[in-house]
């Protein structure tokens, strides 16, 4: 569409084009439903949408869905709070004090290479298989991206901005507060966004690896054990939607905090 046709779009067309994002999901659902009704064998894999909807209704009614969601979400929030706070703090310390960087960085780089799921057997041995270990996994998942991005953001300060600080005789604290930290905010928020996604995914994942307990991952496992595909699908849907919503939320916050950011970066 050329700029000219965009300019003369009527209000109705404008609203319709906003719905473009829905076309593929709706088409996929329609195709799914078609496959679901073309044979009993297909119905096992392509669970008819009515069944998923029925499962949604049932689980809502008996409180299962809310409880599971709340358990996973609460663990995610707690783990995110712990991991992100410690991660940003450590990234800040390493970027500010050279000696901290020299001491911690090598160990950090080594541990970082190990995929989180690979640490699970170790965590299981040291801390057991209960809720505490799951929380540790989530915290770690949020921790890593925050350390890295905070460190990069604070270290990569614009030289000219620092000179502006020098001209006005800014103290170290003033430089941090007015120049380094605001300048690092885009990177820090990148870290927070990654941490949000990783925290949610690892919250579900930890339910699959450790002892059973309330949570969406467990809802999924139970459904699988009972051969109830519609419950599994329901869980997957809710997990996906929650992930999408949390990313959207933090994006909204970052847009407000980073409203000064130019579109093009010089």
């Amino acid at each position: 569409m050329t700029a000219a046709t965009n300019a003369i779009k009527t209000p109705i067309l404008h609203r319709l084009s906003a719905l473009r994002g829905w076309v593929v999901p709706v088409a996929a659902l329609a195709a799914w439903d078609y496959c679901a009704h073309t044979g009993a064998g297909h119905a096992y894999v392509f669970v008819p949408l009515e069944q998923v909807a029925a499962a949604l209704w049932d689980n809502l009614l008996n409180g299962d869905l809310e409880l599971s969601w709340a358990a996973s979400a609460l663990r995610t929030l707690t783990g995110f709070a712990i991991g992100a706070t410690l991660g940003v703090a450590l990234g800040g310390v390493m970027a500010t004090w050279r000696i901290a960087d020299a001491l911690i960085n090598p160990l950090y780089q080594a541990v970082r290479q190990t995929p989180l799921m690979g640490l699970i057997p170790l965590i299981s041995l040291w801390f057991g298989n209960d809720e505490r270990s799951k929380l540790l996994v989530v915290s770690l998942a949020a921790f890593y991206p925050c350390v890295l991005n905070t460190y990069e953001g604070l270290s990569g300060a614009n030289r000219r901005h620092l000179e502006v600080g020098r001209i006005f005789l800014a103290s170290r604290g003033q430089v941090f507060r007015h120049i380094l930290l605001p300048g690092a905010m885009p990177a820090i928020f990148t870290g927070l966004m990654q941490a949000t996604a990783f925290a949610w995914l690892s919250s579900i994942g930890s339910e699959l690896f450790f002892d059973p307990g309330p949570g969406l991952g467990n809802l999924m496992l139970n459904g699988q054990a009972a051969f109830r595909m519609e419950v599994v699908l329901l869980a997957v849907l809710v997990i996906g939607l929650t992930g999408y919503a949390s990313t959207a939320l933090i994006t909204l916050v970052s847009r407000r905090v980073l409203r000064w950011r130019p579109v093009w970066q010089a």
Binding site: R160, H161, E163, V164, R166, I167, F168, L169, A170, S171, Q174, H178, I179, P182, G183, M185, R259, W260, R261, P262, V263
Partner: protein
Amino acid sequence: MAFEHPDTASKLSIDRLSKNYILDRKPLRVLLNVSLDVAEGEFVSIVGRSGCGKSTLLRLISGLENDYSGDIRLDGQVISRPGLDRGLVFQDPSLLPWMTVRQNVAFALVNVDLPAPEKAERVAEHIDLVGLKGFESAYPKELSGGMAQRAAIARALVTQPEVLLLDEPLGALDALTRVRLQNELQRIWLRHKMTVIMVTHDVEEAVYLGDRVVIMDPGPGRISRIVDVPHPHPRDRASPELHALRDAVLADLTNGVLS
């Protein structure tokens, strides 16, 4: 060489200033025995080819660089580090992007001991002075190049410095905006009559604004000639005398290249 008393009658006195950088373990002579006296309230333009050290000279006066031999004195005091008595405007506005115009200008006063209402008043005054009234709450991303540079000038002036240093302040702007801002600079300077040193590559601008034009040569950087521009301000850009002076300076600058 006998020690000469620095001239304390001038506002800024630079005496046999030399600066070296180390490049590949060899000394690179950027400035050699530069001497210049600037009187109070004078507007001095500095022009020169690339590599003549004019920006380094300005950075040394501002205190951002300080490893030099020779003397730089402001009101008789040796300069060796940045200070609020010297304002500096870079070629790029260098506004902090996360601060509004008002906050950017106010940042200059972060280490000035004044009550908050007085600071706010000074900030508003200077934003008005550079013609940005109404844009106090704008972010740098919302400003044009000319407006951003005006904000940078306001920020440099709000500390009421003794000397204003401008490092190719209009170099990044288009020709029309440059002419407008030259007039603005002249207006602001006439109002406050502070001492100004401006580095520029635009010879016409140097002659139009400056009381004196310092011509520098590279290899190593030194002052080749100082041209007086004894015309009263405000000046007529179209006057034949100014054009003649501009041509003379240009001829001097291109001498080394064309001969």
